[in-house]
Structures are given as structure tokens and as C-alpha cells.
């Protein structure tokens, strides 16, 4: 209970306070600096708008790429295009390589989609791929020759799956239970994996300079060509994975949980979801599919183990997955594009000494930067700040005095442009809605019918025993009253009829 009293120590206090208080008068007169432009988040944005911005971005990226290649090689734009295309599609071999690149990139991106949807930043795809490759090659090295073809492939797939999944599970567990930063953790796991693989390679190498191909003579464990294409099996697996993931994310209970957890963890908890379990499960699957990719590399492409397996696809896929915003169609397109540039760069490189292997890095880097940067323009709009609009209005007023016709003309043009763009926008929105509606109905219809058919089968199988009671309603009874009771019934635990009856009574109190 100290009362205020003037003490000799007061001097330094007031000196200090005076220094700060001296600012008072300065501050009061100083107006806050106005920003030149304000950035406002867009409320809604139509798909067309987003598409337009992204196409612009790709266009700019292409321009820069062409300029760069032009500057370095001296070729003109047409030649460059030609060479790029040739590099990618000229021979059957190059087409296959392009397909392979696309597909590998695609699978990893698809694998990352569920983790990213849950806002779990799985940067460890590279490591998960390598671990899958490691275990698959172990099987190949030691056991494949004693197994049948399908046996070896199956076991390798399984081990690849488990290895990748486990590798991703570790950081997921720590995130879910301990709250560790998953970006750094998964990143470090990459390099541990690389070293483990390098270590294994050296062990197997023994005294030689390299392992060479594994089982070159027996081709044990090698993925056989499918449909005449050496990578046929891989393409098939990719297709399966894409379809599976689309259904998984959009139609299943797990997918629903992922969406909710990623959108709002609090809502997930409120709805009774076990967030930790969901995180661990989803990331395991994400890593597992990456592990499968590793196995595919070992078994179907390289037929050997190396720590450079997969190149940098683990990282590229992260950007692809993020840019595509979990839309599988976009992922396919972007993967194709990136693979195109990669193979095309090889094509150009072969014709000139000015370029080298790393050209593709630059091309892809440019493309990715533009794609990442354009997101801003999709989500935000730039609005001129007060100072700028004031200046603009002043300028306009002045101009109006001097040359009114100019201002009128500009205004008319602006209005016409506005109207035109409004009509175009309207057209696109209606078209978009129609297409969405149709596509939605089609897809929904098709998927629904399939699901319904499966449902009916499952139903019959399940109901064969009397384990789950059926409640029969005649069609007319589907009046508003029954849904309540039905909903209520569905919320009850599957206990004995007596229990249920009691609850019914209380409800009708």
C-alpha cells in the first residue's frame, strides 16, 4: 500500500518520460502514411477467373522459357518448340519416357494430396519413395529368385507399401501426439533415407564400383511389360491410384474426416472425430503410396537400387500437389506438362553444347514460380488506396477541363468494356453452372448407380443372417413423421429391443 510520494529518484523518471512525451506533439500533427494500394481478399471467385489467371501464368512462364532458351542457344522460338516436342515425343522410346515421368510424378502427387488436404506438410516424399525402393530391392536381391513372378511382385509391393508408410508414420505420430513440426521432421527423414540407401548400395557393391542391375539374367522381380509397353504396369497402377484417391477423398468416411480436420480441427473435435488417429492414418497412407512408387522404380524402371532414385520427383510432386489443389485432373495435366519440359530439355540438349542436363531444372523452376505466384492474383484483388484514387480524381478533373471529349471517350470505352466483360462473365458463369450441373449429375449419377449396386449386394450379404434387424416401411409411410423416428432409431446403439422401446416412450412424454 505505497502512497505516491515525491522522491529524489523522480528526476530520472520524468527525464525519461519527458523524452518519450516530447513525441506527443510531434505525433499528433503527423498523419499516418496512407498506403498506395490496398489488398483485399476476394470473397468468391469463379472457376473461369481462376483458370484465366492460371493460363496467363503459364503463358508468361512459357514466354520466359522461350526467351531464356533463345538467349542461350540462339535458336528462334519455332525451332525451340520443335525441338522440345521432338525431345518429348519423337521416338517410341521418348514417348515412353515421357509417360513414365508423368506417371511417377503423378502418383507421388496423388499420394501427397490427402496429407496436404489435412494441412500436414509431408515434405518427406523423397525419403518415403526411397524406403519403399530399399525394401523392395532387398526382397528382389535376396528372395526374388526363389519366388514366382506374381509372388515376388506382390511381396515387393507389400514391402514397398509398408516401408513408405512406416517412414511417414513416424513424423505423423510425433505430430499427432507431441505436436512436433512436421515440415522439419519429414525433411530430415529424407536424408536419413538417402544415407540408408547409399549404405545398402555400398554393402551390396562389395568390391565393385556399382551394383549394376539386380537379377539381370533371371529378371526375377522385374515388372514385365504390360500391353506391349514396358511401363504398362506402372501406368495401370497410376490409373488405379488416381481413381482410388479420388473416390477415397470425396466419397468415403475417411475422406470426409480428412476434409473436416483440414478445414477446422475444432469442428472435427466437436463432431467427435479422433484427430490424432486421423492424422496418423492419413499420413501413413500418403507415405505408403510413395513407397509403392519406390518399388515401381526398382522393379519396373531402373531394376536396381541407387540413392538418386526418383531424382527430385519427391520435391517436384509437392509443388504439383499443392498447385493442383487436390484436383486429380489438374494433377494429371501439370504432371504431363512438367514431364514434357523435362524430356524436351533433353531433346534440345542433345542438339547443342550450350545446354546441359540441368536445363530442365531451370525450365521447371520458372514454370513453378509462375504457377505459385499467380495464386495471389486468384485470391486477392488490388484496390487503389485513398491517396492514389484522390490523385486520380484530381488528374481526371483537370483533364476534363482541358479536353472533355477525351474523358468522355475514355469513360464510354470503359463502360463498353465493362459491359462486354460482364456479358462474357455471365456467359461463362451460366455455361460453367450448366457444365457443372451436367457433369455433376453425370458423375454423381454414374458413381451413385455403382455405389447403389454395390450397396444392394452388400446388403443382401449382410442381411442374410439376422444379426441386423430390418425395419420395414411401406412406401406411403415415408411421411415427415417417420424420418424423425427413423433418425432417432439410427442414433440409438444397436442394443436389445427392450432398451429401444423405453427410449421411445420417453420421447413421447
Amino acid at each position: 500500500m505505497r502512497k505516491f510520494s515525491k522522491t529524489p529518484q523522480e528526476a530520472p523518471v520524468s527525464a525519461g518520460a519527458a523524452a518519450v512525451a516530447a513525441d506527443v506533439n510531434v505525433g499528433a500533427k503527423k498523419q499516418k502514411r496512407q498506403p498506395l494500394f490496398r489488398v483485399i481478399k476476394r470473397g468468391t471467385s469463379s472457376i473461369c477467373h481462376g483458370l484465366f489467371i492460371r493460363l496467363c501464368a503459364i503463358g508468361f512462364a512459357l514466354l520466359v522459357i522461350l526467351l531464356f532458351l533463345n538467349g542461350v542457344t540462339g535458336y528462334d522460338f519455332n525451332t525451340i518448340w520443335e525441338l522440345l516436342f521432338k525431345g518429348a515425343f519423337d521416338t517410341e522410346f521418348s514417348v515412353n519416357m515421357w509417360l513414365n515421368s508423368t506417371v511417377m510424378l503423378l502418383i507421388i502427387s496423388v499420394a501427397l494430396a490427402p496429407a496436404f488436404k489435412m494441412k500436414f506438410w509431408n515434405i518427406g516424399a523423397q525419403g518415403q519413395v526411397l524406403m519403399g525402393a530399399l525394401l523392395a530391392s532387398v526382397v528382389m536381391w535376396y528372395f526374388a529368385e526363389d519366388m514366382s513372378y506374381s509372388g515376388s511382385v506382390f511381396v515387393m509391393l507389400l514391402f514397398g507399401f509398408l516401408a513408405g508408410g512406416l517412414w511417414a508414420f513416424i513424423p505423423a505420430f510425433c505430430k499427432a501426439k507431441l505436436g512436433t513440426n512436421e515440415t522439419l521432421f519429414t525433411l530430415m527423414m529424407n536424408y536419413i533415407a538417402i544415407q540408408l540407401v547409399a549404405c545398402t548400395v555400398r554393402i551390396w557393391q562389395g568390391g565393385n564400383t556399382s551394383i549394376g542391375l539386380i537379377n539381370p539374367n533371371s529378371e526375377a522381380g522385374w515388372l514385365a511389360p504390360l500391353f506391349g509397353n514396358p511401363y504398362g504396369a506402372i501406368i495401370l497402377i497410376a490409373a488405379i491410384v488416381v481413381v482410388f484417391m479420388t473416390i477415397y477423398l470425396n466419397r468415403t468416411k475417411h475422406g470426409f474426416e480428412i476434409t473436416v480436420v483440414g478445414d477446422s480441427p475444432n469442428t472435427a473435435k466437436y463432431a467427435g472425430m479422433n484427430t490424432a488417429k486421423i492424422i496418423m492414418r492419413t499420413v501413413f497412407i500418403s507415405g505408403a503410396i510413395c513407397g509403392v512408387v519406390g518399388m515401381l522404380y526398382v522393379s519396373g524402371v531402373e531394376h536396381t537400387l541407387a540413392e538418386t532414385l526418383g531424382g527430385s520427383y519427391g520435391f517436384t510432386a509437392i509443388i504439383v500437389a499443392w498447385t493442383a489443389k487436390f484436383n486429380p485432373v489438374v494433377m494429371v495435366l501439370v504432371s504431363m506438362g512438367i514431364a514434357f519440359f523435362e524430356r524436351g530439355a533433353v531433346g534440345i540438349r542433345n542438339t547443342t553444347t550450350q545446354l546441359n542436363d540441368y536445363t530442365s531444372y531451370i525450365l521447371i523452376g520458372i514454370l513453378l514460380f509462375f504457377l505459385i505466384g499467380c495464386e495471389f492474383f486468384v485470391n486477392y484483388k488490388i484496390v487503389p488506396g485513398e491517396k492514389v484514387s484522390e490523385a486520380y480524381h484530381k488528374f481526371r478533373a483537370k483533364l476534363e477541363q482541358k479536353a472533355p471529349w477525351l474523358v468522355q471517350g475514355c469513360a464510354w470505352c470503359a463502360a463498353a468494356l465493362h459491359k462486354a466483360s460482364a456479358t462474357v462473365e455471365k456467359f461463362f458463369t451460366t455455361a460453367e453452372n450448366k457444365v457443372k450441373g451436367m457433369a455433376g449429375k453425370l458423375c454423381r449419377g454414374a458413381l451413385d448407380k455403382t455405389v447403389e449396386a454395390v450397396e444392394q449386394c452388400a446388403f443382401r450379404i449382410v442381411l442374410r443372417g439376422d444379426k441386423y434387424k430390418t425395419v420395414v416401411y411401406e412406401k406411403e409411410e415415408h411421411a415427415p413423421s417417420s424420418p424423425t423416428a427413423a433418425e432417432d432409431a439410427s442414433a440409438d446403439a444397436p442394443e436389445s429391443a427392450v432398451c429401444e422401446g423405453e427410449k421411445e416412450e420417453v420421447r413421447n412424454d
Binding site: M1, R2, K3, F4, Q9, E10, P12, V13, G16, A19, V20, A21, D23, V24, G27, A28, K32, G43, T44, R251, T252, K253, G255, F256, T259, V260, D263, S264, N266, T267, A268, K269, Y270, A271, G272, D448, V451, A458, V462, L463, Y468, K469, T470, V471, V472, Y473, E474, K475, A486, E487, D488, S490, A491, D492, A493, P494, K503, V506, R507, D509
Partner: protein
């Protein structure tokens, strides 16, 4: 006498349709402690935010020391000598107290020297009577120490006008006493202090004058010495307005939810609910009144299973639901719905469509429809692992039903809910919870931020549920609504139950007094009879009639 330190002249501020402050004009004198009094939503925080540069008034002006000023940012406010201590502290956890104090000061203002700053801080503390350890890290500090630091920060920057937003909300009585002494010292030193508060006893103790706001409008200023708690409550809550909310007669049912001696802690570890006991009966709406932050949020979350219960019992129709997670509650079939105050952050997933939000709680249930001729069979709930798909059709039908029933304005069932307006969002949330057919509904601030029509729709929904025999706990902030809609009103103050009163037998004043802690019916009530509340103004006849009614109900139940 003393001239005005701060003058508000015709301040008006609107957010969209809501008028937060309407034509507010009053003065704050130099060297005084002014209490700014008002309920939730009265506009006091908005007004002070304009003084500290967070908002900018739509109309009107602010004068500081007689000169008109424009305050467009916290920096401007600092420069004018205005310092505000918010309820949510702005401190960096890993820094020490000194480091937090000097953060952001420029070389023009003072040379960087932690030692000198610590000395200055100590001088300030000695001058006014605080206690701060300059080298202590924030994460080691208690809440009251952090608050002290915030005040020191403001004083360090040379604030002459301080605004304290609910400072005693986080303090113990002893700490409050210390704070008041400090405030008195500051006043002696010529500083002007505005304290935003609800607590009438503190207002009476510390302030020189009291300014009252109600629903955005300025009511008046009185000298503390000339007034008393009753007059202040009157000014604060005003006369009861008739809202024309239909209130149906409760059907006198058994308690569906019983709470006994509940103790719940809040996020900071302090006790939020301190030994409460009450009932929620079927066919009745129990209103919960109280200053925000008195523990209502924690109470709702504890009942819904989202918060751990420290002590006590919660029984739903005889079954204890303590320790059950929300999932377990849902699975157990306990038909209890919780409509949280955080609509888009908790109750709904903002980016998901209406359809998806419909199945948020029961997506695991697969009730397969099996057609055979004209009849439809429905299987009971299958174990989740047997069926991996979600049934959107069912959810979509439900969504369409409630869109129709509750008149929800939305482009389609697939629109993300965050695009809907506030009222429609709430309708979606309420609709979903009702669809589950609960027999107990807990709802917190359901009409906050809604327009009139949506609010009335919500009231109608609640009444409809009540008629079905559902027990409803309604946490609200508008006393008029509580009095019109609810059958009984429970008042919480600082986590303690002040009393449960009948809405038709009590007054706004009585509730206001209970809310501010001035009236504690817990002490008045002698007998804890089943279902009877104790108003001070209920007479013996009515009491006897109610007892008889309950006795009849008991007989009918036969339990």
C-alpha cells in the same frame, strides 16, 4: 475544474447493419477514474477501440486535451499519450518483461539499453506501487503479472490517459485491491483512467464518475458518490421492452440433465465453474445469464464433453456423461445437441457445403435402404468398418428439408457455408442439431449477430422443440430476450450460481444485480426443492401452487 482529457463528440460507428455506437458524447476529465459501464453489446469496447486507434469512427470526433485529433492507428494513440490495456495480452512469450516493454520503440525515442529500461521500469513501479521483475520471462508469469506488465508498458510510453478493459476479470480479490491502489496512485499523479467494467461493487469502490452505455447509446454520467448500485443497474439494463416472443407453458417434466457440484477449469488453469448445481427439465427453457467470461463457455463445453470436468456430476437421464468424449456421447445415443457460440469455428466446417455439414455428426451411420417391391427396408446402424462410403444423399435430403423448413437463403445445398450470411449459417447449425431429434439442447448465444427476422425464427424453433418436450439450456446476453423466451433464468457470476429465478416473476433489475454479484440468491434460498427456483418476489401462494404441480407430475411418473 479540471478540463477534459478526452472528449467524445457525436461518435457513431456501424459494422454492416449493426450500429455499435450511436451519437455518443461525453467527457473524461483529467485526473479522474471514470468507469465505463454497460452490458455485452453496449458498445463500450468499440468506443475504446476507437480511442486507441484500432477502429475509426464513421461520424463524430474525438478531442484530446481540448484539441481535435485523428487517431488512425495504435501508434497515433501512443503519440497522443493514450494507452490501452486489452483483455488479450500482446506479449511475446519468450521475452523478458523489459524486452517486451521496449519492443517497438525507435532510436528517436530512446537509446537501446535494457539496463536503463529496467531501471526506468523499476522507477515507474516504485512510483505507483507495482511489483515487476524486469528479467522474468513471460511464460513464467501469472496472469496478473502479465496484466501488470501491460500497464507498465503503457506507462513507460508516457501514457497520460489509460484505458483498462475489464482488468479485474482475471484477478483475485487481493490482486484487485493491489490494482486499485496503483490506480489511485496514478490518479494522484494526474493521469486519467477509463476502466471498462461490469462489476458494480468495483465501480462503487474505485471510480469517481460512471458513464453508462446501453445498446450503443450513451445514457448518462453520474458521480459515484451520488449514486448506488440500483440506480446504476437501472441505467445499465433499462426498462423491460416487450419483445413479443411467444412463450408457451412448460409441461412440467422430469429433469433430463442434472448437474451437481460441477467444477471446471478454463484454458489458463483457473477455476471457471465453481461448484454449480442445477437441472434442465424437459419442456422447459432454462436461460443462462451472466457477464461474458463468467464461465458459460466452459460450462457448455463441459456438458458437451469438449472440456474435462474437474469435479462433480453430470447426469443425462440418469446416466453419467462425465468423461465421455463427444464421440462417445453421440455413440451412446445420448440425444444431446450443442450449438456452440463459435458457429464457423466449431459448429460448422466453413469450407464444407451445407450437405456435408449436415452429416458432420452422424456420417458414420450407414442406414442402407433396400428396396423390395414397394416396401423399403432399412437396416439398423452397421458397424463403421463394414461400409466405407458416406451417404450424401441422405444428408442432402436432410439439408433440403431444413432449407425449406427454416427458410434458409442459399444458392444450393452444395454451397460452402462460409458464403452464407450470419443468420443463415446459424439456421443451418440449429437445423442440423434439431434434426438429430435430441431431448436436451444446449445453445450458446444463438442469435448473436443475427438480424431480427432470423432471431425470431430461432426463437420459434426453440419453442417448437420445447413443445415437443425437449429441455433447452439457452445461454444469452440480451436480458430482454431471456426474460421473454425462457421459463427460468439461471444467473452465473464468476463461475458461481447466483440463483435460479422464474422469468415471469423476476425483474431485469434483479437479474442485473445477480449478474454483477450484488445479489446472491444462493444464500437466500434455503431449500433445494426439485424444480423450484427462488425469486425474491415470488409469494407463498405461487410457491405452493408450483409445489403442488410438481408433486402431481411426480405421481404421474411413478418414480
Amino acid at each position: 475544474m479540471a478540463e477534459a482529457a478526452v472528449s467524445f463528440k457525436n461518435i457513431t460507428k456501424t459494422f454492416g447493419e449493426v450500429v455499435a455506437n450511436r451519437d455518443v458524447t461525453f467527457d473524461v476529465k483529467k485526473g479522474e477514474i471514470l468507469a465505463l459501464l454497460g452490458e455485452n453489446g453496449s458498445g463500450k469496447t468499440t468506443l475504446m477501440n476507437m480511442l486507441s486507434g484500432i477502429y475509426y469512427p464513421d461520424h463524430g470526433s474525438i478531442e484530446v486535451n481540448g484539441e481535435e485529433v485523428t487517431i488512425r492507428s495504435p501508434k497515433d494513440a501512443f503519440a497522443l499519450g493514450i494507452g490501452m490495456v486489452h483483455q488479450h495480452f500482446k506479449l511475446v512469450d519468450v521475452f523478458t518483461a523489459v524486452e517486451n516493454t521496449v519492443l517497438g520503440l525507435t532510436r528517436k525515442q530512446e537509446k537501446y539499453s535494457l539496463k536503463a529500461a529496467a531501471r526506468r521500469m523499476k522507477d515507474i513501479c516504485d512510483k505507483y506501487g507495482f511489483e515487476i521483475e524486469p528479467k522474468k520471462k513471460i511464460y513464467n508469469m501469472s496472469v496478473s503479472e502479465k496484466q501488470t506488465l501491460e500497464i507498465v508498458k503503457v506507462l513507460y510510453r508516457g501514457a497520460e490517459i489509460l484505458v483498462l478493459d475489464e482488468p479485474t476479470a482475471v484477478l483475485t480479490p487481493q490482486e484487485t485491491e493491489k490494482l486499485f491502489n496503483v490506480m489511485r496512485n496514478m490518479r494522484e499523479d494526474g493521469k486519467s483512467i477509463i476502466i471498462i467494467t461490469h462489476k458494480l461493487n468495483e465501480v462503487m469502490e474505485i471510480s469517481d464518475r460512471v458513464a453508462v452505455l446501453r445498446k450503443g447509446e450513451y445514457i448518462g454520467t453520474v458521480n459515484t458518490a451520488d449514486t448506488d448500485e440500483h440506480e446504476l443497474t437501472d441505467m445499465m439494463v433499462g426498462r423491460k421492452t416487450d419483445l413479443n416472443i411467444r412463450r408457451t407453458e412448460p409441461t412440467g417434466e422430469k429433469p433430463l440433465l442434472e448437474i451437481r457440484d460441477l467444477v471446471v477449469k478454463n484454458d489458463e488453469g483457473a477455476v471457471a465453474i465453481d461448484g454449480m448445481s442445477f437441472y434442465i427439465r424437459g419442456g422447459e427453457i432454462l436461460g443462462v445469464a451472466g457477464i461474458s467470461g463468467c464461465g458459460q463457455k466452459e460450462l457448455c463445453e463441459a456438458i458437451a464433453g469438449l472440456r474435462k470436468v474437474y469435479k462433480g456430476e453430470i447426469n443425462h437421464m440418469g446416466d453419467s456423461i462425465i468423461g465421455l468424449s463427444p464421440k462417445a456421447i453421440i455413440e451412446k445415443g445420448i440425444a444431446m445437441s450443442f450449438i456452440p457460440e463459435d458457429r464457423l469455428g466449431m459448429g460448422l466446417a466453413p469450407s464444407l457445403s451445407v450437405t456435408d455439414n449436415m452429416m458432420l455428426k452422424d456420417y458414420k451411420n450407414a442406414t442402407l435402404t433396400f428396396k423390395e417391391g414397394d416396401a423399403e427396408h432399412k437396416a439398423k446402424k452397421l458397424p463403421a468398418f463394414l461400409w466405407p462410403f458416406v451417404d450424401r444423399n441422405r444428408a442432402r435430403k436432410k439439408a433440403e428439408e431444413i432449407i425449406e423448413e427454416l427458410d434458409i437463403v442459399t444458392p444450393s445445398t452444395e454451397t460452402p457455408v462460409r458464403r452464407l450470411s450470419g443468420g443463415n449459417v446459424q439456421k443451418v447449425l440449429v437445423g442440423r442439431e434439431m434434426q438429430a431429434g435430441p431431448n436436451v439442447i444446449i445453445t450458446a448465444y444463438p442469435v448473436r449477430g443475427l438480424d431480427i427476422n432470423s432471431s425470431y425464427t430461432i426463437y420459434d424453433i426453440l419453442n417448437a422443440e420445447k413443445e415437443k418436450g425437449t429441455g433447452i439450456m439457452y445461454v444469452g446476453e440480451d436480458l430482454d430476450v431471456l426474460l421473454a423466451l425462457c421459463d427460468k433464468i439461471m444467473v452465473i457470476c464468476h463461475g458461481k450460481l447466483m440463483g435460479v429465478v422464474h422469468a415471469d416473476k423476476t425483474t431485469k433489475e434483479e437479474i442485473g444485480l445477480m449478474m454483477t454479484g450484488a445479489l446472491d440468491l444462493g444464500a437466500v434460498k434455503t431449500e433445494k426443492h426439485f424444480g423450484i427456483a427462488s425469486d425474491t418476489n415470488i409469494d407463498e401462494e405461487d410457491l405452493a401452487a408450483m409445489r403442488q404441480r410438481d408433486a402431481q407430475t411426480e405421481e404421474e411418473e411413478g418414480e
